[in-house]
């Protein structure tokens, strides 16, 4: 017995010290939302891409941290002179995680699967112009479009266009099998997804051996988890009010970048009370954007006047068109004949930008005589009632997909904007390959939705991330919804 105690002491000391000596090669990334499944080709949730994009799955092309598109599984490509035929030369010696070889047939399968009539792909528009996908040989694939599409290479970089193994495509939702530098290890529902390094990765080797995505929905818990070191980074950190504190702490880096998230006061354009453009215009003039950015986001965010990211070269600043002008708003309301007694439902999903922004907007609308009935919803309820059921007047949500102005061309999208003029613009855009002309069309589209006051355009969501100051290589901006860990490592 006498020897037991010192032995135990030594053992415990060793156990306690050993993690300190081990070189750190794993990372825990915090995320607010848990993905509903892990198949980016089968669901719209941003959280899916935030786990799998570039980590587990790869597409023919891919987004980089700066928003540029570079080759992925396609080594190179040529475009025919008429802009219709894309010939992709694929990377060779690429294996899926289950050992299957990657070849041109997988590309054909994946793209045809995504554009299939019955596919549940959330971004089928990306593949709309494809006429056929042909295998030339095992490492060359030819995609023929029905019309030239200047954005096609970019479309293929989306998470919705990743390449699956035909053998395992059906189980992609729960057991992802891709070609990326990380292999799926396990998913503990409600807690985390774990990935391990893929030692047979075809590309540049990564520094990390292990990566976990931990799901923490509560902002207070997220704060505590970071402070306690339970998570190493929270790329989209949900409590902007505490960022100043992290900024002052040398153990943390606050990474403020831009996202593709246009935060808008989505308006049900088919609602009886809101189908009059004057009412929507009145709402737009009643909104003080800066107050929302300050009050809901503690100053993080750029006001926008249309559905377009300010860091995009084709962006035009239209905020002046819907400036804060309560008097104008009131006169517009009386012009529309609803100066008294307009009550609108305002259904808010959980993020703090929505909940806090909603309270601020409710107060601003009250100033001009519009009453709102706030209802706080969980995401599932929001998707059911607002997104699918279209049973709402107003809601606040951030549209985080890149270059998603095209959603305004879909009259059955939840804000139910039905404009032939806009659809004509989108069709023209898809046919146009000249960059200057494309830019002109995009600008016209931005102006059109601002003129129609389709939605209240609030601000571009800032990417406010917090990370351990020793962790390097995280994306600053979010050109697409992703937590690309391929370049992440620990500095000494």
């Amino acid at each position: 017995m006498k020897i037991l105690k010192p032995l135990l002491t030594i053992l415990l000391t060793v156990m306690w010290l050993s993690p300190l000596y081990a070189e750190k090669n794993s990372v825990v990334i915090g995320m607010q939302l848990e993905p509903p499944n892990l198949d980016p080709t089968g669901g719209a949730a941003a959280a899916i891409d935030e786990v799998v994009y570039s980590n587990i799955y790869e597409g023919l092309t891919r987004f980089r941290a700066d928003g540029s598109v570079t080759p992925g599984l396609a080594k190179s490509w040529t475009i025919s002179n008429d802009g219709l035929v894309y010939t992709f030369k694929l990377q060779e010696n690429v294996k899926f995680h289950n050992g299957n070889n990657f070849d041109a047939f997988d590309v054909q399968f994946s793209i045809n699967r995504a554009r299939d009539e019955n596919s549940t792909n959330a971004q089928k528009g990306l593949f709309k112009g494809i006429r056929s996908v042909d295998v030339v040989n095992s490492s060359v694939v030819k995609i023929t479009l029905s019309n030239p599409n200047g954005g096609f290479i970019r479309n293929l970089a989306w998470g919705d266009a990743i390449i699956l193994d035909p053998d395992t495509a059906d189980s992609a939702a729960s057991e992802p099998n891709g070609t990326g530098p990380f292999k799926f290890s396990k998913w503990i529902k409600g807690d985390r997804v774990e990935l391990v390094k893929n030692n047979d990765y075809w590309g540049e080797a990564i520094a990390l051996e292990k990566a976990s995505f931990k799901f923490i929905s509560d902002p207070t818990a997220a704060f505590a988890a970071l402070m306690a070191g339970d998570v190493d980074a929270f790329p989209v950190y949900p409590a902007p009010e505490t960022l100043a504190q992290f900024e002052a702490d040398p153990n943390f880096n606050v990474i403020v970048g831009s996202t593709e998230g246009e935060t808008i006061l989505s308006t049900n354009n088919k609602s009886e009370k809101l189908k009059d453009v004057r009412v929507r215009k009145a709402i737009a003039h009643a909104i003080n954007r800066q107050a929302i950015v300050d009050g809901a986001m503690f100053g993080f965010g750029t006001p926008i006047g249309t559905h377009f990211a300010p860091h995009h070269p084709d962006y035009i600043d239209l905020t002046a068109q819907s400036n804060y002008d309560p008097e104008k708003s009131k006169s517009l309301l009386s012009e529309a004949g609803v100066s008294d007694g307009l009550t609108l439902s305002l259904k808010l999903p959980p993020p703090s930008y929505a909940r806090r922004g909603g309270e601020i907007i409710a107060s601003q609308l009250r100033e001009v005589g519009i009453e709102t009935k706030i209802e706080n919803l969980e995401w599932a309820q929001w998707l059911e009632q607002v997104f699918k059921g279209k049973d709402y007047d107003l809601t606040i949500v951030s549209h985080t997909e890149p270059m998603d102005i095209g959603i305004y061309g879909n009259p059955s999208y939840y804000f139910q904007y039905d404009s032939q003029e806009f659809r004509n613009l989108m069709n023209a855009l898809n046919l146009e390959t000249n960059d200057q002309e494309r830019s002109k069309i995009l600008k016209n589209a931005q102006k059109l939705i601002a003129d129609d006051y389709v939605n209240g355009y609030l601000f571009q969501l800032a990417k406010t991330g917090v990370a351990n100051s020793k962790l390097i290589g995280l994306w600053k901006n979010s050109p697409t919804q992703a937590n690309d860990l391929t370049g992440v490592s620990w500095s000494n």
Binding site: E241, D294, A362
Partner: protein, 273 residues
């Protein structure tokens, strides 16, 4: 007559709470419906006694108006429990040992067996969060409390001689319950009522804290706590003052209940537990 210290303390705390809430119906220092973002997160000052929150609203005014929510939700919920629970208890006591007694009391046990918050969440999930649904959720759990207290006390009175003489005089169970039992257990019900009232305030704060009580922008103590918890490290007044208010209101009502019990009948002390 000598007042117990707990009664005096509880009485004044409750009185302050009541008076402030009543005042808030007519006057508050600052309007809380209009947000003034530029004025946010101010420290306590003469202008804003307890500071301002993240929307620039005056915390003192919000606590005052939040009292309306707490008071009305708790009051209605307790009344619901009294109105339904006491008759059930009286019926049970008058028919003690019968099948009806069993059905009523086992029904009560059933409600007791459910964690109240889970049921409250269920109710608000099905019917949507609102003050009314919070009242219903809290009220339902007050029914078995009052039914049990009533039954327990009533049974002991049923065994007393004057009840037997009332029976001999030809009075039925209904009249005996109403004319002889109820007046004799009223003090117990008042004590239990004030304790349930304080628990009702706590429950309302809890439901609002998890987002199932009154909806914004109506101020509520529980939601003030929930909204401010991420800011506690740099603006502790946001969470501290609503928290203290809840503590004082609940403490005051509990002391009042305790004190009333002591005041009315010191011998009842063991019977209440």
């Amino acid at each position: 007559m000598k007042f117990p210290i707990s009664f005096i303390l509880g009485f004044f705390l409750s009185l302050i709470f009541l008076v402030i809430t009543i005042i808030s119906f007519f006057w508050v220092p600052h309007d809380v419906e209009t947000l003034n973002i530029a004025n946010r997160l101010k420290e306590p000052s003469f202008e804003n006694l307890l500071g301002t929150d993240h929307f620039g609203r005056d915390i003192f005014s919000m606590i005052m108006i939040g009292g309306q929510t707490s008071l009305s939700v708790a009051l209605i919920a307790v009344s619901l429990g009294l109105i339904l629970g006491v008759p059930l208890g009286l019926i049970s006591a008058s028919l003690r040992g019968s099948l009806i007694d069993d059905i009523i009391m086992r029904g009560n046990d059933l409600i007791f067996a459910f964690p109240s918050l889970v049921i409250a969440i269920l109710i608000t999930a099905v019917f949507g969060p609102s003050a009314l649904n919070a009242i219903i959720a809290i009220g339902i759990f007050n029914i078995p409390v009052f039914a049990r207290v009533t039954r327990g006390a009533a049974i002991s009175i049923w065994t007393l001689d004057f009840i037997s003489s009332a029976r001999i005089a030809g009075k039925g169970s209904f009249r005996i319950s109403l004319e002889h039992i109820l007046p004799n257990i009223l003090n117990l019900l008042i004590v239990q009522g004030s304790i349930q009232f304080s628990l009702g305030i706590l429950a309302e704060a809890g439901l609002s804290y998890v987002g199932l009580g009154v909806q914004p922008p109506a101020p509520s103590w529980g939601r003030m706590l929930a909204d401010s918890q991420t800011m506690i490290s740099f603006a502790p007044n946001l969470a501290l003052f609503p928290g203290i208010t809840i503590i004082l209101a609940v403490l005051g009502l509990n002391l009042l209940g305790d004190g009333t019990r002591d005041l009315i009948d010191p011998r009842l002390q063991d019977k209440i537990k």
